[in-house]
Symmetry: C2
Subunit: 413 residues, 2 copies
């Protein structure tokens, strides 16, 4: 068989990624795709009919399907790719429709900019071809870098606008519309502000990991992203595939757990404000999200599964109530009495009362939480009513004293 002279076809400059990917196909005789670090598709070679479903899915949706990404993480493929300089062979994964393929990271100064994926035929690529792929990756670097630069420039332009939007600088809806138009930004029909709080300042690298997770989650459509020290703010809509507001709850859970799993970034707390139509409510939604974060910090147990302002319930008003109490110097007489009793008898009737109400007045649940016998709790509740002079059978008194109890927790510590 006659071999072509060994001239390196990638030692030239390419006009764009499309030209490069076609060149790869010509030289390796396999279909190729180029993705950025968020697995968004940027170029793909024309291919024969015969290709695998993962590739088709990627091309259709312009993005690698979530289940494929998840699997690649689980199998350790992505982490390995991020660390390896050369091409990497990935054995086929049947159930997500992934045939054998070879991938390589596109890098610039140790920073990963994207990936080249090549689907292998029956005939596997040989060593020389794999080395050729490395050259292709080098050739891709300036093109990918340009892509990121463009994006970054655009980003810088609108960052301060977004910040102003979130802090209520624009009161007028028309003004906001114009500004969107000026900046050439598409205004989503509906939006929700998400806020995340990290344990340390968000670095450039973390920012990438963040936008990686957002893009790959497929749960929400993120429109804008703002980073401010330890805080990350997203303006997003539910993903078309997920119908309602539940999407945000899911996304936040996903985001927090995956930041920990994939990137070992622990202790991220996330929240969402109400979804609104008009962007003059951006500040409101942001404030709501912040309120959720603040309350979660104070009441981690109570709000463990709460991410959305809509589920904040009575905690929305706790701040208000606490301030009122303080300004009036009001203390619920029953609380005062119970506290005195507790101090004198080393009991904990106050806590008992709080847990009892928090368990929706369910004796069994509350007894379990308190590690006492049901009848013990029964007895205590009777005593609490007597000592505090309260009628726990009355829902309004019950809610009232519960609010007072919770409001107390707002200022101590």
């Amino acid at each position: 068989m006659y071999e072509m002279p060994q001239k390196n076809p990638f030692k030239k400059s390419f006009f764009d990624l499309k030209e490069l990917v076609d060149c790869i196909q010509e030289n390796l005789l396999c279909p190729a795709t180029i993705e950025d670090t968020n697995h968004r598709l940027h170029a793909y070679s024309s291919h024969e009919d015969d290709t695998d479903s993962a590739r088709i899915g990627t091309i259709i949706s312009q993005r690698v399907p979530e289940k494929v990404i998840n699997r690649l993480w689980k199998e350790g493929v992505i982490p390995k790719l991020l660390q390896t300089d050369g091409a990497l062979r990935i054995p086929h994964i049947e159930d997500i429709g992934l045939r054998d393929r070879v991938a390589i990271a596109i890098r610039k100064n140790n920073e990963t900019l994207g990936y080249i994926w090549v689907v292998e035929d029956q005939k596997k690529l040989n060593g020389a071809q794999l080395e050729l792929l490395q050259d292709a990756a080098v050739a891709a670097t300036p093109l990918m870098a340009k892509l990121y630069q463009n994006r970054k420039r655009k980003e810088e332009n609108y960052q301060d606008f977004l910040w102003q939007l979130l802090t209520g600088h624009y009161k007028n809806l028309e003004e906001i519309h114009n500004k969107f138009y000026d900046l050439n930004l598409k205004m989503p029909e509906r939006f929700t502000v998400l806020a995340f709080c990290f344990e340390q300042d968000i670095t450039r690298k973390m920012e990438e990991q963040i936008s990686y997770l957002i893009t790959t989650s497929q749960k929400i459509t993120n429109h804008f992203l703002v980073v401010m020290d330890e805080e990350l703010i997203l303006i997003a809509s539910p993903h078309p595939s997920q119908p309602d507001e539940k999407a945000f709850d899911d996304f936040i859970s996903f985001f927090v757990s995956e930041m920990a799993n994939r990137f070992s970034i622990q202790g991220v707390r996330g929240s969402a404000g109400t979804g609104y139509q008009d962007f003059d409510k951006a500040q409101t939604s942001y404030q709501e999200a912040l309120k959720v974060l603040k309350m979660k910090e104070r009441f981690p147990e109570e709000l463990e599964n709460v991410h959305h302002f809509r589920h904040l319930g009575v905690f929305r008003y706790l701040n208000l109530i606490q301030k009122d109490q303080r300004s009036r110097r009001y203390e619920h007489p029953a609380i005062a009495k119970l506290e005195a009793y507790d101090a004198l008898h080393k009991s904990n009737l106050l806590q008992t009362l709080e847990v009892f109400i928090q368990q929706d007045s369910n004796m069994n649940d509350a007894a379990k939480k308190l590690f006492v016998h049901t009848n013990t709790l029964h007895y205590r509740i009777k005593r609490i009513s007597e000592i505090g002079g309260i009628r726990l059978t009355n829902i309004h008194e019950k809610i009232g004293i519960y609010l007072d109890l919770k409001a107390r927790k707002m200022d101590d510590k």
Copy 2:
């Protein structure tokens, strides 16, 4: 038998009531007492050992025992006395220790100032003696009037002080102490402000009926009384015989029902603030009492049995919450959705939800209130959760939406 010449012993002026009452005894040969309209004892003749227990009780406590008063009302004695000019014979009432006696009202210009009571012996008073008693009553009039005048003058002196106290004019406790001293008023150890709202302006006559009820109730010790148009304000302590704060609840119920029963004054609403020690809290206690009245007006059903601020429960905060909602233009998304659903399907899920929570999430109670089958309610609650996107199993969401529902009721109408 030799009869004394018919010279009228009461046609002279008496130095005080004691002199008069002794004169009655001398002439009628029966023990006599003089009371004011509040059945407070002002003078009694020295008596033989043989007298009835009602009289002894009256002398000991300086006031006619409550059970005796109640009985005299029930038997129609007091109303009749108030209407009759001459002396009235009251047959004995065994079970409250009341022997046969004769009574007469002391009057001035149709206004009753008090009563003279005479306990009869075996030998009943004859007609002439009864007429003599009428003269005694006339003789008593100027003395009783002086008594009232003194009281009235003293009252006028401190009325504006009290009003200032209640409206927070005095911030300084020492200043208040001094003022009490200047006015020669005894400052009670603890006090509670009670507020009553009448349907029409309080007349002079009603004022007397009011102070009558206060004095005879024996449930509270009233220290001061202020009347302002339709409003009656008391500064009181629990009666020594009644131990704790429950006294006020009892008194208010008693007062409202007896104003209706005895004097046909309907629609009185009463309330009490918290009990405090220091009088710089007078305004607070008063404001609390007013708040109870205001909320009772808005939520008559919910607060039907609530008179004391301590039992106002969550309604303490409703005003605050409503204002907050209004200023933020916040509407709970679930409420909005349910309201829309109700309008579209002519259902009443919102009301269902409110009743359900108000019945402490008890399906049976709530179903009864709504006149539907338990399972119907069950079904509705499930639908409410779905449509509103709320988790009614979560107490915090439940309280939250309940507060929002109640707060809505604050401004409509």
